[in-house]
């Protein structure tokens, strides 16, 4: 695999992804929402929004959980399927490149675009928080978790994209996956919990299956250095992992990234048709 070729593909993909209006719609949507929340949450008490962990901070995490996966999934779903549908993928494959160079070039370009989108959203939110002061370290940590979640979502979007031939099909599938991760999976966890009443370890395991929940745990830990606010499962996580918890959570998300990107590559490389 030649790095120069990968980066040339990445640049092209980045250029293409930056023209994806959904990327900016979601990024600006998140930014505006976070800006508004930060203003509303802080104005009455003069209390720095992220310094006091209450409903405002919870709403910010909620906003991230809604928007960041959408950014990753929609961009990822379009990376291969839309080119396949337009016919440009055939011509690209006919160039002196191997599939790994094409895939990882596209993945890197899309990842840069997604990071840019998340950075824009956080940049706007940051301006909102700056007016009342805020902790840049915590804010950057939150950005880091959001980038990891965006890359997980991108990886899952790439899997969908590699397996589908039409952009519309891929986008539809991405939205279904989003629904599963954001809502349906949690409803399943609620049902299982009410039915089986698992021990805290079981509950924590159920929660950690969902990368969005892993992100949530990491984000809350960044904000307050503990998960005890999440009840017995959070306390169990703190007890089991202690100061290693953020590393464990980050490793889980990195595992999701590696697995999803790897699966997407295999799906793309082993496909017997263009």
């Amino acid at each position: 695999m030649e790095a120069g070729l990968v980066m040339t593909i990445a640049q092209r993909e980045l250029r293409e992804a930056l023209r994806n209006k959904w990327l900016w719609f979601y990024a600006l949507g998140f930014g505006a929402l976070a800006f508004g929340l930060a203003q509303a949450g802080m104005s009455a008490a003069g209390y720095a929004g992220l310094g006091g962990f209450g409903r405002t901070a919870a709403s910010l995490i909620n906003a991230l959980l809604l928007f960041v996966p959408l950014i990753g999934l929609t961009v990822g779903a379009g990376v291969i399927a839309s080119e396949r549908e337009r016919g440009t993928l055939l011509y690209l494959l006919a160039q002196p490149l191997n599939r790994a160079e094409i895939f990882f070039g596209k993945a890197i370009g899309a990842a840069l675009a997604v990071i840019a989108g998340v950075a824009l959203g956080f940049g706007i939110a940051g301006i909102g928080l700056a007016t009342d002061g805020g902790d840049p370290t915590v804010f950057l940590a939150l950005f880091g978790w959001a980038v990891l979640l965006a890359l997980v979502s991108l990886g899952i979007g790439l899997v969908i994209s590699a397996l589908t031939s039409k952009a519309s099909t891929a986008t539809g599938a991405a939205l279904i996956v989003w629904l599963v991760f954001v809502f349906i999976g949690d409803l399943g966890v609620i049902g299982a919990t009410m039915t089986f009443r698992p021990p805290p370890m079981g509950m924590l395991t159920l929660v950690l299956i969902n990368p969005l929940q892993v992100f949530k745990l990491g984000a809350i830990y960044s904000l307050r250095a503990t998960l005890d606010t999440l009840g017995a499962a959070g306390q169990f996580a703190m007890h089991e992992f202690g100061a290693w918890l953020p590393f464990v959570l980050a490793a889980l998300l990195l595992g999701w990234i590696a697995a999803s990107f790897g699966l997407a590559y295999l799906s793309f490389a082993k496909r017997s048709t263009v």
Binding site: L18, A45, L66, L120, G126, L230
Partner: protein, 787 residues
């Protein structure tokens, strides 16, 4: 406390006796006796220092009497001190501020006070034993009226243990426990045991276990700072207690009162109590509780009530407290009733109130005139009171009350969705937990110091993130200098006589065989036409030669096997598909992108742009080009790396006649330059103009490899008759022809195209003329019958 009074009386001791005579002796004895006997109420001032007069505290204590003042100068004094005289033991005030150290060397208790009216002041007390069952402590007070003040206690298991020592004072001390133990194994910083009316004032306690008060009535805790412990303050059977103006930070539990009566808490500041039961204020079986103007911020729980008030006619009142940023503001056991919450501020708590385990009656406790940050009612008349009650009825909260494990899903959109669904469909609306009929709508001034930071840090951070987003655009649109990325020029390779070798190639899609045992070779400067109907396998063969689809057999292009050297093979092939789908860029950007992939120079682009007649079009968007120009651009891209082999997949299929002719000429010129060309076409004139040999593919027959003559003999000629008709007749004529059985269609150039056998073309014209259609002009093109 008169014990602290001192006098400047200095004892005078007789240093000698002399005998000069009886009279003199008796006079002197009388005088000496008068001088050395002190008044009964006077206190001696004994000085202990490493230089004497007393070198140890024990020495001074041996000679001291009740009421004496023992002043200790800096230095370390070993041993386990037992004070059994009512003395004041105080550190000397020196300009250096050096404290005398009492060090037990890790054995037993450092100081024991066994008699009333003892004061211990200003020492550094360290290294007690560490046996919890023997209550090893820094200071153990076993008698009333003790004053323990201004000491620093470090590396002691227990700090100050006040046992059966009523009316004592513990003041201005700094106390921490043995650092090597985890919190539960440490000792209590201050422990009271059957010691009523003790004043605990202005102490700083940190990293110890508890500040625990047992069976001690009338205790007064004021102005203490208690940090990083287990129970900040734990009352057990302590009636008539007053706890005020204390700060409790980051303990496991804040103030927890059990089995006590008349407990009053005022103006305490409790933050960050986050242990497994991290309540700021907790009450179990306690009566007559009054909590006023306390700050309960950022705790796991603000207030916990179990069996409180304990007796039916008692009370528990919470007034004017600020309860903010807690996970749960108030937790109540289901049986609790009679609690009054009035004029409190409930601000930004994740959950305002929970009944532990669910259940409980909404009306069991009284909520009146509180401020609720999540109140969504109005105050239309502006009286400062909401027009509708604040009602706590959150479905997900009710679920977490019943199943606390579900708190793991807090802050999730699913939790919000459940609340939204419950609000939208009243059938699943939860039972209210309580209601406040007169909620305040004006947020009182909060005495919370802001965690406001300088805006600069966040502005810089925001600017950095926005710059990061902009940086993506810079990377995306940065033009690289291709000259630095050029591929190493290929060595002058000997031209192989065979540029394309296909051997025993078979390709199937499922059970459908597309190519079966196909073999052929093609030398340099030769052109092979792929001929056959749609679906015969022409495109599949081209894609197999490019290594884009798997196949059985062997294909070697320019001495490189496709299966194992696909990338290198594609570097030796120029490929033009039937219709290239370009990215939405300009001609120049498109050329530059593919030139970068093929690592060719900008000069090569210039040459090809000129050669393909694209010079005046390079700034145009590709989408603005005509079909002919797009195919020229595709050919330019194919030729970027000057490949020895060209694969053209019906490149003229969508071109008009003139563009097609121009294109065929261009390809013909390339053939003259010794390019090996494999092209698919349905057009007879293209094959005749370009091909040296023809591979006739047929899904029902074995492939036939023919020369031009053999092919001509087998192809039945067809023509495409393009007609220009008078205005308004085109659609009608087309309908007429189709109805009459001709293969006719309208095309995009304002004409009708009739496809027919060559000998039928005049008949078509006559048929139209005889039916009133006026043909202004026509054009004939030859085609094969296999299209």
């Amino acid at each position: 406390m008169k014990l602290r009074d001192s006098r400047s009386f200095r004892p005078l001791r007789a240093s000698f006796l002399s005998y000069k005579g009886l009279k003199v002796l008796w006079v002197l004895l009388l005088l000496g006796a008068l001088l050395t006997v002190r008044p009964v109420s006077a206190a001696a001032h004994l000085v202990v220092s490493p230089q004497g007069p007393y070198r140890t505290i024990e020495e001074a204590l041996r000679v001291a009497h009740d009421g004496d003042f023992i002043e200790v100068y800096g230095g370390t004094y070993h041993g386990n001190l037992v004070i059994d005289k009512a003395v004041t033991l105080a550190a000397a005030q020196t300009t250096e501020g050096e404290r005398p150290v009492l060090d037990a060397g890790g054995v037993g208790t450092v100081v024991k006070v066994n008699v009333p009216h003892v004061t211990v002041r200003g020492f550094e007390i360290r290294n007690s034993g560490s046996e919890p069952d023997q209550d090893h402590a820094g200071i153990t007070v076993n008698a009333p009226f003790a004053v323990i003040e201004q000491n620093r206690l470090d590396e002691v298991l227990f700090g100050i243990f006040v046992a059966q020592a009523a009316d004592s004072v513990v003041r201005d001390n700094e106390i921490t426990s043995q650092a090597r133990f985890e919190t539960g194994r440490k000792g209590d910083a201050i422990r009271l045991w059957y010691s009523p009316r003790v004043l605990v004032e202005n102490n700083h306690v940190y990293q110890a276990r508890d500040l625990v008060l047992w069976y001690s009535e009338g205790v007064h805790l004021v102005n203490n700072l208690i940090e990083d412990g287990r129970y900040g303050v734990h009352l057990m059977y302590c009636d008539n207690s007053l706890i005020e103006n204390n700060r409790l930070l980051n303990n496991s539990v804040g103030i927890y009162a059990m089995y006590s009566r008349q407990v009053e808490l005022r103006n305490n500041d409790l933050r960050g109590q986050r242990g497994p039961s991290g309540y700021a204020l907790g009450f179990k079986d306690t009566d007559a509780v009054l909590a006023q103007a306390n700050l309960l911020i950022d705790n796991r729980g603000g207030i916990f009530l179990d069996g409180t008030p304990f007796t039916p006619n008692s009370f528990a009142r919470f007034e004017n407290n600020i309860i903010a940023f807690n996970d749960i503001a108030v937790t109540i056991m289901p049986a609790v009733k009679g609690v009054e919450f009035s004029n409190n501020v409930f601000w930004e708590n994740v959950e305002q109130m929970t009944v532990h385990g669910g259940g409980g009656k909404p009306t069991a406790n009284m909520w009146q005139g509180n401020y609720w940050s999540d109140y969504d009612g109005l105050d239309a008349d502006g009286d400062g009171v909401g027009d509708t009650p604040y009602i706590s009825e959150k479905f997900f909260e009710n679920m977490t009350d019943r199943e606390p494990l579900l708190r793991a899903l807090l802050y999730s959109p699913s939790a919000q969705a459940i609340e939204f669904a419950a609000a939208s469909f009243p059938i699943v609306k939860p039972q209210p937990k309580f209601s406040d009929p007169q909620p305040q709508v004006n947020l009182p001034a909060l005495p919370i110091e802001s965690t406001r930071r300088s805006a600069g840090g966040m502005i810089l951070t925001a600017a950095f993130l926005l710059a990061l987003a902009c940086g993506a655009f810079f990377i995306a649109y940065r033009e690289k200098t291709m000259e630095n990325k050029l591929a190493a020029p290929r060595d002058a390779e000997p031209v192989s006589p065979v540029q394309v070798s296909v051997r025993n190639v078979t390709k199937s899609y499922g059970k459908t065989a597309v190519l079966q045992d196909l073999s052929f070779e093609l030398g340099a400067g030769r052109a092979l036409a792929l001929w056959g109907a749609n679906g015969a396998g022409k495109t599949t063969l081209i894609q197999a030669m490019l290594g884009l689809v798997p196949f059985e057999g062997t294909i070697v292009i320019a001495d490189q096997p496709v299966k194992s050297k696909g990338k290198q093979v594609r570097g030796r092939i120029g490929y033009v598909p039937q219709q290239v789908m370009f990215y939405d860029w300009s001609v120049q950007s498109t050329l530059q992108f593919y030139a970068r992939l093929k690592r060719v120079s900008a000069a090569r682009i210039e040459t090809l742009v000129e050669q393909m007649g694209l010079t005046t079009h390079r700034a145009k968007a590709v989408s603005a080009l005509s079909g002919g120009l797009r195919q020229r651009l595709a050919l330019a891209l194919a030729l970027l790396s000057d490949p020895p082999v060209l694969l053209l997949d019906e490149p003229t299929a969508n071109l008009d006649t003139q563009a097609r002719a121009d294109y065929v000429k261009l390809v013909g010129d390339l053939k003259q330059q010794d390019k090996t060309i494999v092209f698919a076409s349905h057009r007879l004139e293209e094959v005749e103009a370009l091909a040296d040999e023809i591979l006739w593919l047929d899904s029902n027959k074995s492939p036939r490899h023919l020369n031009l003559e053999e092919w001509r003999a087998q192809v039945a000629p067809m023509v495409e008759l393009t007609l220009w008709l008078a205005n308004g007749q085109r659609e009608r004529a087309n309908d007429f022809l189709n109805a009459a059985g001709w293969q006719s269609h309208l095309n995009g150039h304002g004409t009708i195209v009739i496809r027919t056998r060559a000998e039928q073309k005049l008949k078509a014209l006559r048929t139209l003329a005889s039916n009133g259609f006026i043909v202004d002009d026509f054009q004939v093109e030859r085609q094969s019958e296999v299209e």
